[in-house]
Symmetry: C2
Subunit: 472 residues, 2 copies
Amino acid sequence: MAKAPVLTPQAQDFPRWYQEVISKAELADNGPVRGTMVIRPYGYGLWERVQAELDTRIKAAGARNAYFPLLIPQSYLAREAEHVEGFAPELAVVTHGGGKQLEEPAVVRPTSETIINEYFAKWVQSYRDLPLLINQWANVVRWEMRPRVFLRTTEFLWQEGHTAHASYEDARDFASLIHTDVYADVISDVMAIDVVWGRKTPSERFAGAINTLTLEAMMGDGKALQMATSHELGQNFARAFDTRFLGKDGERELVWQTSWGLSTRTIGGMIMSHGDDNGLRVPPRLAATQAVVLAIKEDEAVLAKVREIGAALSAAGVRVEVDDRTDVPFGRRAVDWELKGVPVRIEVGPRDLAGGTAMLVRRIAGGKEPVAVDALPTVVPTVLEEDQELLLRQSRERRESRTWDVSTIEEAVEAATKAGGWARIPWADLGPEGEARLAQDAVTVRCLVAEDGSVPASDDAPGTIAVVGRSY
Amino acid sequence: MAKAPVLTPQAQDFPRWYQEVISKAELADNGPVRGTMVIRPYGYGLWERVQAELDTRIKAAGARNAYFPLLIPQSYLAREAEHVEGFAPELAVVTHGGGKQLEEPAVVRPTSETIINEYFAKWVQSYRDLPLLINQWANVVRWEMRPRVFLRTTEFLWQEGHTAHASYEDARDFASLIHTDVYADVISDVMAIDVVWGRKTPSERFAGAINTLTLEAMMGDGKALQMATSHELGQNFARAFDTRFLGKDGERELVWQTSWGLSTRTIGGMIMSHGDDNGLRVPPRLAATQAVVLAIKEDEAVLAKVREIGAALSAAGVRVEVDDRTDVPFGRRAVDWELKGVPVRIEVGPRDLAGGTAMLVRRIAGGKEPVAVDALPTVVPTVLEEDQELLLRQSRERRESRTWDVSTIEEAVEAATKAGGWARIPWADLGPEGEARLAQDAVTVRCLVAEDGSVPASDDAPGTIAVVGRSY
């Protein structure tokens, strides 16, 4: 089938390709209030899958879901100095409610550390109440000057975890557990996106944190996207809200806290990690629809067969959809499923029926071949597993092939700009001053890593390397 | 075990009992902004179960989930005259974003008909795009003058479904399908709450609807709670937003629409339907924890046995929790689980071990008896099923025994006020004037029903009966 040029090629204009694929694959639309978005069913189905995979892991880590109010008294934010400084410029403020001006304006939550600490301070009494491990699924609003669908939106959806612990070590270990067993696992294992695990430099930390762990992914154009962060908050919010517990020794001590979030921005990361000039390529474990069975044309035997194949694949545990909309031209439907990145297409026409086969089209690895209909329930799951691994491998290979070890700031800038990738440079050679120099070329330190790829225990641990690049 | 008077008795002060049980069972707290609430993990776990049960049925009805923005330009609401009149007094308004006054204020969505129609008008082109069946899980804000946790909160959580159809009949049938197969099914079958199915009188309809279907439940004090509504919107919003489709006949016609919602208020309904003087009684199908296995005291054999029983019940499909917190006095834990309404407690102490039994305590039917440990995996599921049915039966019996057929407005008022229940009165005898008369005593028409208990096809169908009562 000859390909119609449905999308602007990535090499020609990556940002335009991104906007077009989101629109044509019916993932999202821009909302009417600047920077907001409408997540359409196909896009929301991806988020629902991320939610399900994350929620299971968050609960396995011991946290329970709860819900805190959207509206936060403006005064709460001011209690933690760095926090208010970081978020004040992005706030949406409700000044009127029920037809009257409010005595105290309320902000629409940009994140919930402050309101949650107000309640943690009531709920935590003794060391027996710790650790207190809470998660919430919520929308948050941060006014965006340069919005981009999924990546930077005035309103976005996320989960935000908030925990309180009896010791620094316990809080640190929990932030690390979320980083590795929840976030890295979902992003790599389900979304098939290779990530570098690191810590943020002091200037890139969350407002109010003493340490921010991050997972950074390289997009198709070599730029970085921060996929999820996990913060050690130390006792900063505990101090601001007087969140204390009675220790075993009878002393009232401040709790140690963490917070951590992963948002709909990861959907943008999935699009830019795996998409190609023909559209999305959705990792099989993430896909709400892993395989679609298409009737090529209106024909009673063909329609019966696609339904039969659909039922057989569903019984084999494949998330399958049957496309029997024969009033829409087959070519248009095929292009549409390709755009939507459904991993496997099974096309059935009268000629296939005669041979007892169907055409298996692989969106991720590419290629098509006839497969005996009886073999589909065993072949399709195998193909899905292969293609899941292939996507992760391609993601890793891109990051490895486009990351360069450098020793000067000039080389780092060149790697991130002209070469379109990332540079690794010893943090001791860069430091906060070098970081400021990089910023002049819109290059940032994405994270600090240890030589062996692990997360350094501190900013100034010997051998710490800065991974730098341009970012979304 | 002697009962400590943990709660104000219902008969003494029902509203106070309600507040106390919510607080002591750790379901929710009041939020800092007037009328908002914090849903604590135990309360949110109930809502998660409602969500899961509803979501499955909504998808089975053919709808797909999506997400529309929280913030709606103020001008959108004004486009449908009745809608803006109904919601204007309850709006929360964002006037500032990102440190600047907004050119056009945005309202925090009180419901999403308007913003959704803006997009439906773009997405719907031809009859082939219909029906368009969308649902969203979201928070909404309606400024409440007399807030009450779960029942009337300034912010609440819900799902709101929005659909567009090619004909009046198709829209009407879909609203009815949601009413019966989704809402009535979840409320009766999962939440064990008896409901009367009816239609609202014109004065009680959703602002902008041509018909509102409702499910009304009788609470423990005889008052009514509206559990969920499903609206036929006719072409009102379609006209306001010019949502049209190209019909098979080549004409561009307005779509016919529905919207339907069920919220966290249903959790309040569950509390007031089933709770008693000792706390909640959670229906087994709704309960996140159906059974709890308690170690009576610190003892290695006991601790091993409670874990073994927990594993066996879990393997038998019971949602079970093991309570081995022997550093908390057993009596306190037992009262707490009773307050939380977990349907079954299995208590294990050294003496039980010797006899190979455990004490089975039934929160719903009441009573306790020793059961052979080996029999628990078959006994517990049976008990849960029996108690699920018992709760629904009790709910139905209350409604039936406290509903009276009357023939005058005075009798109706007396039934709803002094007698503390509902009255059934022919709508032809009451009418809008009688409805206004009832309002003087804070009595409302909860819904109109047909003589056989079905939903009347119109307000003036012969034999239509008004069910009247006081309500939350």
